[in-house]
């Protein structure tokens, strides 16, 4: 009947795009999370405002709208982006805004006394963050970062609506070619779930690795 092998290949091509989007989106999100999260804790009011504006803007408007904006409006305003760039930009900036709040919360969860110990040891603000606060805050952030990464993975599906040929998009193509809806959609649901599981397994492993240092198993 239908030659599924070719179509599965198409979906796997889409899976590659989805993975690519997820990885690049996560990289951008991670960078933005730290920049904006630490920016919100800055002593300089303008930096704080800028970070807050970024965070509130991207958390406030829907990812969906941001994606359409990046895809259709930005080029008209003179920013030429490929659809992949538009996708990565929207996903990374959006999830980065959520991540920024995670970074801020984690840094603030580190007791004031750690900051004070650093003042007493005359570490600079940068040294304090780099050597004392962030190593401890990172462990607090990880579980939420894991959730954020999975949110980002799921959000990649909507890039199909700006005709980026990710997994969901390819499932639509297969559906149009074959007239069968159940098979392509079930396939990609399972693939998405496997990717999500991979992320959470990897994160748990990382968490254990990092937590080990704190527990003092090292001797």
């Amino acid at each position: 009947m239908i030659d599924w092998s070719g179509y599965i290949g198409l979906i796997l091509q889409g899976a590659l795009v989805t993975i690519q989007l997820t990885i690049m989106g996560c990289a951008l999100a991670l960078a933005m999370a730290f920049i904006a999260g630490l920016g919100r804790l800055s002593h300089l009011a303008p930096v704080r405002w800028l970070a807050t504006a970024y965070i509130e803007f991207f958390r406030g408007t829907s990812i969906f709208v941001q994606l359409f904006w990046a895809y259709f409006v930005l080029p008209i305003m003179g920013f030429d982006l490929s659809s992949l760039q538009a996708g990565v930009l929207a996903l990374g900036l959006n999830v980065g805004a959520y991540g920024a709040e995670v970074v801020r919360g984690a840094v603030q969860s580190i007791g004031r006394e750690q900051f004070e110990a650093c003042v007493a040891l005359n570490l600079s603000r940068f040294q304090t963050m780099r050597h004392v606060i962030l190593p401890q805050a990172l462990i607090v952030m990880l579980p939420t970062f894991c959730n954020n990464a999975i949110e980002l993975l799921k959000a990649t599906a909507i890039v199909s609506l700006i005709s980026l040929s990710d997994m969901t998009f390819q499932a639509q193509v297969v559906r149009a070619q074959t007239g069968n809806t159940l098979v392509p959609f079930t396939t990609i649901l399972i693939l998405y779930f496997m990717m999500a599981m991979t992320i959470s397994t990897a994160m748990r492993w990382l968490e254990r690795r990092l937590a080990r240092g704190l527990d003092g198993v090292r001797s």
Partner: protein, 257 residues
Amino acid sequence: QDNPKLEQLKEQGFARIAIANEPPFTAVAADGKVSGAAPDVARVIFERLGVPEVVASISEYGAMIPGLQARRHDAVTAGLFMRPERCAAVAYSEPVLCDAEAFLVKAGNPKGLNTFADIAAHADATIGAPGGGTEERLALEAGVPRDRVVVVPDGQSGLRMVQDGRIDVYSLPVLSISDLVRLANDDSLEMIAPVSDAPVYCDGAAFRKGDEALRDAFDVELAKLKESGEFAQIIEPYGFSAAAAMSTSREQLCAQE
């Protein structure tokens, strides 16, 4: 001749075209290869213009012209029928593919819907059409209220929605509907073609306003193709009539109301 856009395309070696994945106008095969009458014509012409490749991206009809304006595509070759307001928004080539409109309905046409006017007159008949496509506009112009015009993302969804009874009519060009019906192979469906209160439309390759020089170069090659008979060889296997396209012109179609 001064044609910077074409020079640019030649240099990069490919042209980006928008398609709709609506066989037989445009189609994507299992291996991801783009075919369909419109891209095939475009491919040949671009080749002759010295642009060896076309790169297609699938898009909604409604997003094609904004995408063209947003410089996402260099041309739209997707069965985007010429209509006056589109002619105002983009620069069309001479006609390429012509087709009448058709309805996909449940077998026996239970609500007796044969024209757009019938749908407008029927109190609760709903019609599905691609967002931003010709059919959506025809329905609205015939007086079907907005809430009975359902925007359907793609042909397969439209077919499905007729089967499931979510909409009474799904409207697309004749060849598209017949392709859907063939693929579905479902006795409970019926095609009504042509729809008598819809004119025969032709599409052309659409270019950005400002790229008229490229369009003109495209037209020259298109005319040569038509003359040599190659044009008919390309589109007729898909079911289109070359004679129909050659019997009319952009000027006529853009003035058509």
